[in-house]
């Protein structure tokens, strides 16, 4: 069997894409659940333990709406799906599915984290600042790698298959 001529960095990037897809997927689920909890609190349906209700009320007081969280969750969902699909594209060195869907996934991931910082109140984000910085680093790194370091690999693979 011929050895694969795919650079090891692309395999590593696909693993990292999977890791970040799972991370952002988890946050997306959390955003959806918090948005439904906020809706229930806003509608006056008392539910859950006291501290949780007080916390949700404080979020509402700070101007956070369930719609904000749902938009964020939707962007997170798009980022998760794009990153997951791009794993296959990276492994196959497909220019469209690997490079461009990966790029869109990176943009969606960056948008997700930047909008989180911009929209969510400080009490919601407190203590997660540098982890957000860490998560913003990855999309920039991914886009740089796909368009500068591995650009030729995708184009060559496209030329061979075309």
């Amino acid at each position: 069997m011929a050895a694969s001529d795919r650079p090891g960095g692309l395999t590593a990037l696909s693993v990292l894409n999977g890791f970040f897809a799972l991370a952002v997927g988890g946050t997306t689920i959390q955003r959806f659940m918090t948005s439904y909890d906020l809706m229930e609190v806003a509608e006056g349906e008392v539910r859950g333990r006291g501290w949780r209700r007080r916390y949700l009320n404080s979020l509402l007081d700070e101007g956070l709406t369930p719609m904000d969280l749902q938009i964020l969750a939707l962007i997170g969902l798009v980022a998760t799906l794009l990153l997951l699909v791009s794993i296959w594209g990276l492994l196959k060195r497909s220019n469209l599915i690997g490079r461009w869907l990966g790029t869109l996934g990176g943009v969606a991931l960056a948008a997700f984290y930047i909008l989180n910082i911009d929209w969510l109140p400080e009490t919601y984000l407190r203590g997660s600042g540098l982890s957000i910085a860490r998560q913003i680093f990855y999309p920039l790194f991914l886009i740089f790698m796909l368009h500068v370091i591995f650009r030729r690999d995708f184009l060559q693979a496209q030329g061979k298959s075309g």
């Binding site: 650079p7 090891g8 960095g9 395999t11 590593a12 990037l13 990292l16 407190r126 203590g127 600042g129 540098l130 982890s131 910085a133 860490r134 680093f137 990855y138 790194f141 790698m145 370091i149 591995f150």
Partner: protein
């Protein structure tokens, strides 16, 4: 014979190759991830309000004093006038370790505390991550025998020095990126009056970490030149880096002079790169360069004699 143009070419090729390989991507990603996590670790207690800045600075200066006493092999009581069971905190307040107490206060009170703590943590963790960037510098080509195609066109010494330079440059860029992210974040989080001294102190920390990185990168290149299998080179570099302080500190319990084994690697003096005393900083920089030169000389000697 070293050809400067060849050295630069090898350095450039190594950087591009590092970015294309799995180990290179892992090195870049892990360095940034672990570095930012360490910064998060030092910032979170204050940010989440678990402790006040005053309480945190007090406990941090005690912890740093304790770490400095361990690193400088001064845990045992040196002053004959003090009872042997005197605790280390009182020794730092008014005993034989008063200089370490002052040093810890310099790092915590005179300079941005959170940045100092982050850099001290990086000083412990970076030596363990840096071999990831250098373990394939030579051994990968030796293992696959591709080095045979390079050597008719260049000298072994140019190849070795070029690869070392490329690895070192990549490590320095990563350290710069890491410190830049931490400083930007701290500048946003802290009030403006608390961040006035941030940039000059960050410059000093960058210089210290770059000096610290140089001998460890050289050690990685030495292991890469000695061992033909990259994974063995990685294990040797990480093993030596972890094993030296463990061995010396445990042997010191049996016989004090054996603690000096710590100086086999920069562990024994690397903390002095952040000393308030300029002479100590100068000495630590000179030791770092000396260690790097020693490791690279050994690597060159081994690589020149190797049957490739």
């Amino acid at each position: 014979m070293i050809q400067f143009r060849h050295v630069l070419l090898h350095a450039q090729k190594l950087i591009i190759h590092s970015l294309r390989t799995g180990s290179g991507v892992a090195f870049i990603f892990l360095t940034i991830l672990i570095g930012l996590s360490l910064a998060n670790l030092s910032i979170t207690p204050v940010e989440l309000g678990f402790t006040t800045a005053e309480e945190f600075s007090e406990s941090a200066s005690k912890a740093i004093g304790f770490a400095l006493a361990t690193a400088s092999l001064r845990m045992g009581v040196e002053d004959e006038n003090l009872p042997p069971d005197t605790d280390i905190l009182s020794r730092m307040e008014s005993g034989d370790l008063i200089d370490l107490g002052m040093w810890a206060r310099y790092l915590i009170l005179d300079n941005p505390m959170l940045l100092s703590i982050t850099v001290l943590l990086l000083g412990v963790v970076l030596p363990l991550i840096l071999p990831l960037g250098s373990f394939t510098a030579i051994s990968s080509d030796v293992q696959h025998r591709t080095v045979r195609y390079l050597l008719p066109r260049t000298s072994r010494l140019s190849l070795l020095v070029g690869r070392w330079l490329g690895t070192l440059f990549l490590s320095w860029v990563l350290i710069l990126l890491l410190l830049f992210s931490v400083v930007v974040y701290l500048s946003i989080m802290l009030p403006p009056e608390a961040t006035e001294s941030m940039v000059p102190w960050a410059g000093r920390c960058l210089f210290s970490l770059c000096c610290l990185a140089t001998p460890y990168v050289s050690l990685g290149v030495l292991c890469s030149a000695v061992f033909r299998v990259p994974m063995v080179a990685l294990l040797a570099a990480v093993g030596a880096t972890v094993g030296t302080p463990l061995l010396s500190l445990s042997l010191q319990e049996a016989w004090d002079p054996l603690g000096n084994l710590l100086y086999l690697l920069p562990w024994g003096y690397s903390h002095e790169l952040l000393s308030p005393d300029g002479d100590k900083v100068f000495t630590a920089v000179a030791y770092s360069l000396g260690h790097s030169l020693l490791f690279m000389t050994l690597a060159a000697w081994r690589f020149r004699r190797a049957d490739l």
